[in-house]
């Protein structure tokens, strides 16, 4: 029951929440001393409806800030602006800010080349500090992340699937351990419950592993540009998938029940230990694309803000409960099938 509520809640909110505002890009490619005109493009911003409070700044390494004149607001997300730059600047890096009352400050960090400037350390500050407005606006929405943007919603689906797989595989692992222990050796012709539990749980785990791979692949296409990338976590997930497929092939190829229970339990224990090493230990040592590694935007405590949390935690809970529920159903089906076989 709780499972359905949590899942429903997270499903609705993962799509329903609007995205927070963010800065998408600026059209300028090269800046020269004097007037520079460019188009500032935001995402989910309110340039038009909040025209009165709109201000655009160009910051040069944050020490010098230049206020830009707004020439025209094309749409809610686009504004044509022009900025006057002196011929001495402190560095060649530029950052762009747009302030409105509704959205707070949105920022774009675009590589913009420059030409004809004299680089002077500590060049004079022309304008006052950027008036960065409070970014936590009253509206409730997912925070804006560059590149990921709307696909942040996948966080509520992709990540809990892996958590669920871990939980279900742990159930399978424990059941396999118990299937091997001496006091649980059952006489022939009766069902080894622990083996049944282990295989039912592994089946559900494999299901979630497949789902996780698919959602991950779609997300990777969006954020990293390819369906498959050479990332340790991806490769590890693939190996886990192969290992559990091998587990079921092993089960199918052993006709004797008692022997099947023993062999598959042994393989399952081996596979689980390798899985923990593969997905929890090895990715921490290697470079990869997943959040929190080699200069990638991480979903750290800073990024996972309250709006994401409020959906993410119920989603995890819901998925884990769903996984457990599927496991119990799968277990009962398998048990009935076995009993049926014995009767007929």
């Amino acid at each position: 029951m709780l499972c359905v509520i949590a899942l429903g809640y997270s499903a609705v909110f993962s799509f329903w929440h609007p995205m927070g505002a963010g800065g998408l890009e600026v059209s300028a490619t090269k800046f020269q001393p004097g007037r520079n005109e460019f188009i500032f493009t935001g995402y989910n911003t309110h340039f038009q409806s909040d025209r009165a409070s709109l201000q655009v700044f160009v910051a040069n390494d944050s020490s010098a800030v230049f206020k830009a004149d707004i020439l025209e607001v094309i749409s809610e997300a686009k504004a044509v602006v022009s900025v006057f730059l002196p011929d001495t600047i402190s560095s060649k890096r530029f950052e762009f800010y747009a302030n409105t009352d509704t959205d707070g400050t949105v920022k774009v960090e675009s590589p913009v080349g420059s030409e004809g400037f004299v680089i002077e350390k500590g060049a004079d500050v022309l304008d006052t500090k950027v008036r960065v407005k409070n970014n936590h606006s009253e509206k409730f929405g997912f925070p804006y992340q560059p590149i990921i943007i709307e696909s942040i919603r996948n966080l509520m689906w992709h990540v809990p699937m892996w958590f669920t797989m871990f939980v279900v595989m742990t159930i399978s692992f424990i059941a396999s351990l118990r299937a091997l222990s001496k006091k649980n050796i059952v006489p022939t012709n009766t069902i080894n419950i622990h083996d049944l539990k282990a295989s039912s749980a592994a089946g559900v785990g494999l299901f979630f592993c497949t789902l996780g791979l698919i959602t991950g692949s779609v997300w990777a296409r969006f954020a990293w540009g390819a369906w498959w990338t050479n990332d340790p976590q991806l490769n590890g997930a693939m190996v886990v998938f192969l290992m559990y497929v091998a587990y079921f092939i092993l089960r199918k190829s052993v006709p004797d029940e008692e022997k099947r229970a023993r062999l598959s339990a042994i393989f399952n224990i081996f596979a689980f230990v390798l899985m923990v090493i593969l997905l929890m230990v090895m990715p921490r040592f290697a470079e990869g694309l997943h959040p929190g590694k080699s200069g990638n935007p991480a979903f750290s405590q800073y990024d996972l803000d309250s709006s994401l949390r409020s959906v993410f935690y119920p989603a995890c809970l819901g998925f884990i409960l769903l996984g457990y529920w599927l496991y119990t159903i799968n277990y009962r089906i398998n048990k009935l099938e076995l009993e049926n076989e014995e009767i007929s």
Partner: protein, 205 residues
Amino acid sequence: MRQKHALAGIAMYVLATVFVCYLSLENIETPKVWGAMLWLTGIFTAFNTMQKAFMNEGSGTVIYLYTLVNPKQIILSKAVYNAFLVAVLNLVSVFFFVLFFGTAAISGADLSQFLIGLLLGSTGLGLALTFVAGLAYKSGTGAGLVAILGFPIIIPLLITMVRYTAFALEGMSFSQNSLNLLVLLVLNIVSLVLAYVLFPYLWRD
């Protein structure tokens, strides 16, 4: 594996594989490819050897071992022997690689670092595959299952070995490569411990 003809067969397999690599690639220009091809040869040799790790024992020998020896001793002796065997075979394949492809691509290699990796990778392959071969043997379905069960299990090892070897052949300093070496070592130990603990359950009938 105590028969001479079987060993000669495996050595011949190594030679043929390296020769096929040579025919299809002709020359190797980067240390990365050199290392990767070496390990591809290595894993196929290891699979070919390990498939027979238990199969070649006649049923009489198995019963004899079963009644006389503790299963832990069996797995330990088999694992040590097979790890040693794979290491020797990989050294042979390195020899053939040098013979066919020359050492131009790996002139900057750190030889001792490379050899340590070769040794650890080989023992890892030997240990993990001995265990899998035992499992396949007990399932009674023949050698085909070794490849199905073995491949997913050795992929982590393979990834680490290839990366480590590429670094070693490019001549990177040891400190940059020590993490890969650590992972190799951990995988070796995990394979050995799991095989040692689980094999008695496998062996009893």
